[in-house]
Symmetry: C2
């Protein structure tokens, strides 16, 4: 590891020095140039929003972060790290980027980014293969929720932090349960391993995991607010979740072909294809959120349901037609080879269409995730020690879930479940809002998110490359 | 025209009845389903924004609007009309879509949409050809600003509405000056005529026109607030505008190749290419807005500057490589034909990458433009009569500008300058804010925008097809 860091640094310093110089220049130039404009929401004149500039800054920062790919790391790690840097430059007196953290539009684009990402992952996942690993994913999800919850709420919590209310321990345990499917999925995607069995198990488990975590949150919240849990309430949440997951797949499969047919009557162009797919994703995400699930679950389900076959009424890209026309009188051998080159552009056209939207939105999510990491929480030794122990608990609790994954590389499944993300932060914020979690315990959970987020991608990448 | 309408209606009713039925079903179903959710900003659960749903509604509405293409109309007209319908359903008691008008995120996405549109138009425009028509565009712009201003402020205004303050007439005249480049550009684009001389003249003139209109607004506003105009102030605005337009093209041409080189060192992938292009556009748009010009002018300039040559350090799409490899041992004839099919995908790759982003954002702009049309302003006979006269003035004032366009189809240039849009509404809002424009005069201007917006696209389309 040390060798890696040294080699990385020297390669970085010598070969990429002008990139670094350029980045620093941009950072300090912007500090100077936008010192006047940074405070207000709107510039003068036609009322242009400064958010335009922030989007550009975030996109460029993400791409500078992707330098980590040159050291074999998944670019998502670089994006998160660049976010951490941007978000904590204020510690060295550079505060121009602070407005990014409080920009409501960026926050929305970031949410949209992770929705589009999960939609992409869904599109690339195969529902048949997903079904094959369904039982194993369910097992992994159950263990991956139960283990960290019990460890956090009944073992490590009371042992490390004696004397708190029982509900505080319960909340701590609950906050350890939801996997961040976005981060793991990006690592698999960055390394081209989305279609492996391990990836499919992790994705399935992470989605189910979110559902289970939600049930736990509802139960724990009910204990805090009402003092007890009603069986009816829990059943209702469970029923909603099952209804949505099963219902969306069944109804979606029935509806998608008809929708494709109806809309192809209006227009068979590429724009219509794009609109149908994106609207499908957004509506599913909204419904999932509306019934109390995470919108990303809806987006993932929409991606799973949509299939190239639903777009058969639409035109293939013009290029595909033109190539086929040219090939008409050529040898069968050449035809077949050409077919192989062109096929993805026809068959997976919808994925190609979504890609630029993802280029635009997804980095915003990861940069903002990184920016939400407040490094000053690491300045308190006690918090950091407790947080390290809790993080170890969080990692172990998920890692053991890999052991029930059956005949696959169990360490990959386990490590894939480790990253925690935005859902944990929602849990922690709920607990703080209910007055159950103290500021310190909140910080501990935030540090746990940081550690699991930063540790999992490089380790997972290393395991996947073996 | 009547025949066209009858034929259109019957074709529409008989052949597309299920599409209409489907649309109505969706509208009324949504009225029912979202009656509870429509009021709040956030749904329950993970705090999903209802904006997700609105984006889907807007995108689908825009695509239903594109049905007009089947009657030979540019799809932008259909999008605006669908916007008008959605925005005025409240008149028949359907109020579910009202929140769309007040959604801040949609407003931003709409602004971003017209920015991306102008960037696309800039990318497709050729700076050499633009330069060739430069002088003529300048002439058209000058006449297109002076004629409607004089007609409005000194002839038709005082004649139709006697007894108002001089500044009210000045504001009315000023509000007639700025062409909506977005609408015209979309018509040319929809019909594949962007590279004609007429289109280039109109685009150049519309951009300059916006600059001139801005100067007029500044002068008129100064007369109202300060009571006089300082030469220094006017010179400063003019200087800023010239500096930006000339400066951005000079600096952009110097900077773009270096930027391409530096960023290609980080990553030569498609994502980097996309990020560079979009960031360039956003930064130029922001700077234009920051110095008091319209952001769309900056986006257009960015598109004009960026050239495929700036991306030569980046990878061509994999498909292009694969095809070239397959063609290596084939006949020169086949090679050349294949080259022709594949070439745009390599050479114009950046335009293909931006396209899906435009599919996502541009319809939001046109639907929201349509939705801002309040049909109830048309219920007042007096207002509508005055508005008709003012609209005629607005149309004549721009149409005559075509006469100085030299040896081209002058009627196309003239009609291309007719549509008024968002900039006029900004002018009107400024005048209302300063207490110069009465509510009635404001409504008159709004109706003028409606009429010019709805009248120009079908007429222009008809002229272009001749």
């Amino acid at each position: 590891m040390k060798n890696f860091v040294v080699a990385a640094c020297s390669k970085f310093v010598f070969k990429r020095s002008y990139v670094i110089a350029f980045s620093l220049l941009v950072i300090f130039a912007s500090q100077f140039v936008f010192a006047s404009g940074g405070g207000g929401e709107m510039a003068q004149g036609h009322g242009v929003s400064i958010t335009l500039l922030w989007i550009a800054v975030v996109l460029i920062a993400a791409k500078i972060g992707s330098l980590v790919e040159q050291f074999g790391q998944p670019s998502v790690l670089g994006e998160i790290l660049m976010g951490v840097i941007l978000g904590n430059l204020v510690l060295v007196g550079v505060d121009v980027f602070e407005p990014i953290k409080h920009d409501g539009i960026l926050a929305f684009l970031s949410e949209l980014g992770v929705i589009i990402l999960l939609f992409q992952i869904g599109l690339e996942s195969n529902i048949q293969e997903m079904r094959k690993v369904g039982v194993r994913a369910l097992l992994v999800a159950i263990v991956g929720v139960v283990a960290p919850f019990i460890l956090g709420a009944f073992v490590v919590g009371p042992w490390l932090l004696p004397g708190l209310d029982t509900v505080a321990y319960l909340f701590l345990g609950a906050a350890l349960t939801p996997t961040s499917v976005g981060i793991t999925a990006r690592v698999f995607k960055d390394l081209g391993k989305l279609r492996t069995k391990e990836a499919q198990i992790v994705l399935g488990a992470a989605v189910l995991d979110d559902v289970f975590a939600l049930i736990i949150l509802a139960v724990v919240s009910a204990i805090v607010t009402v003092g007890a849990v009603s069986v009816g309430m829990v059943s209702w949440i469970v029923a909603k979740a099952i209804l949505f997951l099963v219902g969306s797949i069944v109804i979606g499969h029935l509806l998608a072909p008809t929708l494709g047919k109806v809309f192809s009557k209006i227009h068979t162009g590429v724009g219509m294809k794009f609109t149908l797919a994106v609207s499908f994703c957004l509506i599913f995400a909204y419904i999932a959120g509306f019934i109390g699930l995470a919108p990303i679950i809806g987006a993932f389900a929409a991606g799973l349901i949509l299939d190239p076959v639903h777009f058969r009424y639409f035109k293939a890209p013009k290029m595909v037609h033109d190539v086929n026309k040219l090939m008409k009188n050529e040898s069968d051998d050449l035809k077949q080879k050409m077919e192989k080159v062109i096929e993805p552009h026809s068959h997976r056209h919808i994925e190609y269409l979504i890609e630029p939207l993802a280029y635009f939105l997804v980095p915003i999510f990861f940069i903002l995730t990184g920016m939400s990491v407040a490094l000053e929480t690491l300045f308190n030794t006690e918090i950091i020690l407790v947080a390290l122990a809790i993080s170890a608990t969080a990692i172990v609790g998920k890692y053991v879930a890999g052991f029930v994954a059956g005949k696959v590389k169990q360490n990959i499944v386990g490590m894939g479940m480790v990253p925690r993300g935005e859902v944990v932060l929602i849990f922690a914020a709920t607990g703080k809002g209910l007055g159950v979690l103290s500021d310190d315990l909140f910080s501990v959970i935030v540090v746990m998110v940081i550690i699991t987020t930063l540790i999992a991608p490089p380790i997972l990448a290393r395991q996947l490359k073996k």
